[in-house]
């Protein structure tokens, strides 16, 4: 996000008077709280913060944040955010979207937002389902998902949000889980990143896709199923007894056992958030053979879109004054007087 004078707020300052209208037990509640808890730590200013969403259960989010909010139309939040940020680069812009909103109807806008690298945070609530429309499968639903529109199971291969984001040119990619205590740290890193911060959050739709993420989200098995990435730290999990390495022959990632903490000789990779090649491998790690990679997978800033636009606006205006009359009179003109026209 952009430079701003940090101000002091409390969680309460970020809550609205609107009744929250999600199903009881929905993962969205946890995410809302995590965001409301994080904002004061960021020193963010409600008056200078804008939450922009598309359509979906997740997209109702802005109504519950005591900031400026725009609940737009399905899939278009990234484009609207682009207009908002170009019109006022000082604003702290957050995009809230779902797996259908961002990757189905909105895929193209998400791609171009990432390509241009507009400075904002995009939080994709991935529940692998269309919640608001009552449970149809989404582009992230696993093959075989039974839903009202796929009574015999879905046949298409799911999209990987983070892989898509990298392919589209993302410079910041992170993953979190709705109810995890780690979520605020991910949000802080995203907010600290200048440019489009892409955050996939596994969100539990208890009504239409209950516990699809249990296999890796479950607390009790978390040690073995989650790989928490920290920049500069080795990629270890299972209480440090396992790690991720690159097989130097096959040039593919592998899980290796780490014997009494000697991860170096096991060839465990040290996480470098700026290594794009490794980032590609991490986002494509298949859960099962591998743990689920969480935290900041990739973070390597580049100049932002709005900064470049503003810079060009300024540079190309330099020395010119906005003389409307002069503009109208541009080109070859002639004047008509009583005695006819002349150059």
């Amino acid at each position: 996000m952009n430079e701003m004078t940090k101000i002091t707020t409390t969680l309460k300052d970020w809550e609205t008077d609107q009744e929250v209208r999600w199903c009881p037990g929905c993962g969205d509640y946890a995410i809302l709280k995590a965001v409301q808890r994080t904002m004061p730590d960021l020193g963010a200013d409600p008056s200078n913060t804008v939450f922009i969403s598309g359509i979906g259960c997740s997209s109702r989010f802005p109504y519950y944040m005591e900031t400026y909010g725009f609940h737009t139309i399905h899939g278009r939040a990234p484009a609207i955010a682009t207009g908002v940020k170009l019109a006022n680069p000082e604003l702290d812009v957050w995009i809230i979207t779902g797996d259908g909103d961002a990757l189905s109807i909105g895929g193209n806008h998400t791609m171009h937002l990432l390509r241009r690298n507009l400075d904002c945070q995009l939080m994709l609530f991935n529940n692998e389902i269309y919640g608001l429309t009552k449970g149809q499968y989404s582009p992230t639903s696993r093959q075989g998902t039974h839903s009202p529109s796929t009574p015999y199971g879905s046949v298409d291969r799911p999209a990987s949000p983070c892989a898509f984001a990298l392919g589209a040119g993302a410079r910041f990619v992170a993953r979190g889980i709705d109810i995890h205590k780690g979520l605020p740290d991910v949000l802080k890193a995203a907010h600290a990143h200048k440019g489009t911060s892409f955050i996939e959050i596994f969100q539990n739709c208890i009504v239409y896709n209950k516990d699809v993420f249990e296999e890796f989200a479950a607390k009790k098995t978390a040690d073995d199923t989650q790989l928490h990435l920290l920049n500069g730290e080795p990629m270890l999990f299972a209480k440090g007894q396992k790690g991720i390495t690159l097989n130097r022959k096959t040039l593919q990632l592998e899980v290796v056992d780490v014997v009494d903490g000697d991860w170096e000789s096991a060839g465990v990779i040290v996480h470098d958030v700026t290594n794009r090649s490794v980032a590609h491998m991490l986002v494509e790690m298949q859960f099962g053979a591998f743990p689920m990679a969480l935290g900041v997978l990739y973070d390597d800033p580049r100049p932002t879109f709005e900064a470049a636009v503003v810079a060009q606006n300024v540079a190309s205006s330099a020395g010119k004054k906005p003389d409307l009359q002069g503009l109208l009179n541009k080109g070859q003109t002639w004047t008509v007087t009583e005695d006819g026209p002349e150059l």
Partner: protein
């Protein structure tokens, strides 16, 4: 343009002494006919003639050389009095190759002058134009005065000194032709010489070669005349067309695309707002994006979006953030924006949508002109979604329509559709440049203070306008969106009574725009005429001239030109009902006609043309006669 209106005669059989002359330049896309036309237009304007032009180029980027579909033409009608159309029939055709001759000669009035570059009439080109025999030789052009000149050769000779390659050398053909045309109408070459020098500043020898060709063409006219050289029936003669009486002032030529861009910039400044323009290229709308992208010093930010939906939604986002959001496209792209227009209507944010209409449906005829998006403009959205619609009638008018669109958008917090078309976008006409200080300002005031009591983002002023609140304003945080809003509060509200009320407010707010509009005037004739000819958009010229002719012929006809398509001027109904009969000429299958019949129950009869070409005066004269007998 700003001249005392006079009538365009049906073309006088002999250019000599004619009140107006219609000249058409036609050649291969590669021959630079649009450039030639443009410069001839300038010199015409400088000569003080009034004029109208009609550039007509192929859909292909650069069609194969010599083909029929690769022909590019530029027509200009100029005269010693008010000109409002590009003219029905050319008096003079300059054809640079067989394809150009074939596709254009039929339009020339019988007895008109046809100048052809015989150097290009070899077997290959004749085949490409599907000519079995050479029309310059086989007498098939008998009904016109034919003048065969080997322009190619004459040009090569003229530019030999500059040692250009054959290809470059031949590129100067158009300047040779222009030189001849300048001579024919006693024009000063100087401005064009200056233009060539600046254009080719970096390539002096190219500049010199072109100037040489220009002079050679001019000289050819001189000598040909002296030697009375009138080969092939055609006879070169030259004469000056007197200047047209015009209001005193500073003038320039302007195309619709230029004037709309200028009008939008002016509008934003009159409102005191920065402008955000979101566009996605499409013919013929792209030109507006191109113009605006050069005007950053006027607080203009242009954004080439990934598609039309992103273009309009980004513009909506910018308006939400306090800029003047503008988007522009043509038929197919406008269709894609429909859903987002609904969002702007529901969130009541200002937005200007410019539609440069082209031939439809679907991809249709991208480079041809039509008025067939009026239904889409007025009715083309889901739900009850009223939106003001304004239509420009000419490049000059487009400037003021653009300002008007901005005014309505910000004074009523609503999207506004501005209709123009391919003809207006590309056609050039002289424009009396206004004094900007005379343009009325309508500065916007944002809500900045926390009110007593609750913040009501959907409270209303006397115009039913809601306050415009910029994110970033301390303490005024609130949420808006596309779901129905509660009266005043703007909160999500599903209640039946509320929806009824809000639907009526949205309708009444837009109908209320009519309070800010001038009464509908009569362009020609008077209320109660036997026949009212009702038009909109770019058909103004031919309708106006046709009605003039009919009046001269003693017929009781009136011309009403509607600029505000929605809401309509308050007095329009009475005016229409005063006529015995009403016809509505449109370049569509009858769209404005639907609105007039619905609103006023008047028996408005459609007169339709959907050929991708503007109406001719004659076509409308015929329609008038049919409806009076």
């Amino acid at each position: 343009m700003a001249t005392v209106l006079k009538q365009e005669e049906p073309n006088n059989p002999h250019p000599e002494g004619a009140e107006n002359v219609v000249v058409r330049f036609a050649g291969d896309s590669g021959d630079g006919m649009q450039l030639t036309g443009g410069q001839f237009t300038l010199s015409t304007a400088l000569a003080g003639n009034d004029l109208a032009t009609f550039p007509d180029f192929p859909a292909e980027i650069r069609a194969p050389q010599g083909t029929l579909f690769g022909v590019s033409a530029f027509q200009i009608n100029f005269g010693s009095r008010a000109i409002e159309t590009a003219g029905d029939e050319p008096d003079v055709l300059i054809a640079m190759n067989p394809a150009a001759l074939k596709t254009n000669v039929q339009a020339v009035r019988p007895g008109g002058l046809v100048i052809a570059d015989e150097g290009e009439f070899g077997k290959r080109n004749l085949d490409k134009a599907h000519y079995d025999s050479n029309p310059l030789e086989d007498g098939s052009l008998a009904k016109w005065q034919l003048l065969k000149l080997n322009i190619s050769q004459l040009t090569l000779d003229a530019v030999k000194p500059f040692g250009l390659g054959n290809k470059e050398a031949l590129r100067c053909k158009n300047m040779w032709t222009l030189g001849l045309a300048l001579w024919m109408f006693e024009r000063d070459r100087e401005p064009i010489v200056q233009w060539l020098k600046s254009k080719f500043a970096k390539l002096p020898e190219i500049a010199e070669a072109n100037i040489a060709a220009l002079n050679a063409g001019h000289a050819y006219g001189e000598t040909a005349e002296i030697s009375g050289d009138g080969l092939g029936g055609g006879h070169l003669q030259h004469h000056k067309i007197a200047a047209a009486p015009a209001e005193a002032g500073t003038y320039r030529t302007v195309t619709g695309a230029e004037s709309i861009s200028l009008g939008l910039v002016a509008g934003a400044r009159l409102a005191g707002l920065p402008m955000f323009f979101g566009g996605y290229p499409i013919t013929p709308a792209s030109a507006i994006l191109h113009h605006l992208s050069r005007l950053k010093e006027f607080g203009v930010t242009t954004f080439q979006a990934e598609d039309e939906i992103a273009a309009i939604t980004a513009a909506i986002g910018a308006s939400y953030a306090g800029s003047l959001g503008i988007t522009s496209s043509s038929g197919p792209g406008i269709a894609l924006k429909g859903e987002a227009m609904g969002l702007a209507i529901m969130t009541e944010l200002p937005l200007v949508i410019v539609n440069s209409q082209r031939g439809g449906p679907s991809t249709g005829l991208p480079t041809k002109t039509e008025q067939s998006d009026l239904y889409q403009a007025v009715y083309g959205r889901n739900g009850d979604a009223p939106m003001p619609v304004i239509a420009a009638r000419s490049p000059e008018d487009a400037f003021y329509c653009a300002i008007e669109a901005v005014r309505i958008a910000v004074q009523y917090m609503t999207p506004v559709m501005l209709l123009t078309d391919g003809y207006i976008a590309n056609a050039a006409e002289p424009w009396k440049i206004p004094d900007v200080d005379t343009l009325e300002r309508f500065p916007v005031s944002f809500m900045t203070e926390k009110p007593e009591g609750p913040l009501l983002p959907y409270s209303r002023d006397e115009k039913l306008k809601r306050p415009w609140i910029k994110p970033g304003t301390p303490g005024l945080m609130h949420r808006i969106g596309g779901i129905e809003k509660g009266v005043d509060t703007g909160h999500i509200e599903y209640g039946p009574a509320n929806h009824q009320t809000m639907t009526e407010i949205r309708r009444d707010k837009i109908l209320g725009v009519a309070d800010s509009l001038p009464d509908q005037d009569i362009a020609l004739g008077k209320a109660g005429a036997r026949l009212g000819v009702i038009g909109w958009g770019s058909t103004f010229g031919p309708i106006h001239q046709a009605v003039l002719r009919a009046q001269k012929a003693g017929q009781d006809v009136a011309h009403v030109h509607i600029r505000n398509i929605w809401p309509l001027p308050k007095n329009l109904g009475d005016l229409l009902k005063s006529f015995d009969r009403i016809i509505v000429p449109e370049m569509n299958t009858g769209q404005l006609k639907t609105i007039l019949r619905d609103q006023y129950l008047v028996d408005a009869k459609p007169v339709n043309k959907v050929s991708g070409q503007p109406f001719t005066i004659a076509e409308i004269v015929t329609a008038i006669e049919e409806n009076l007998s």
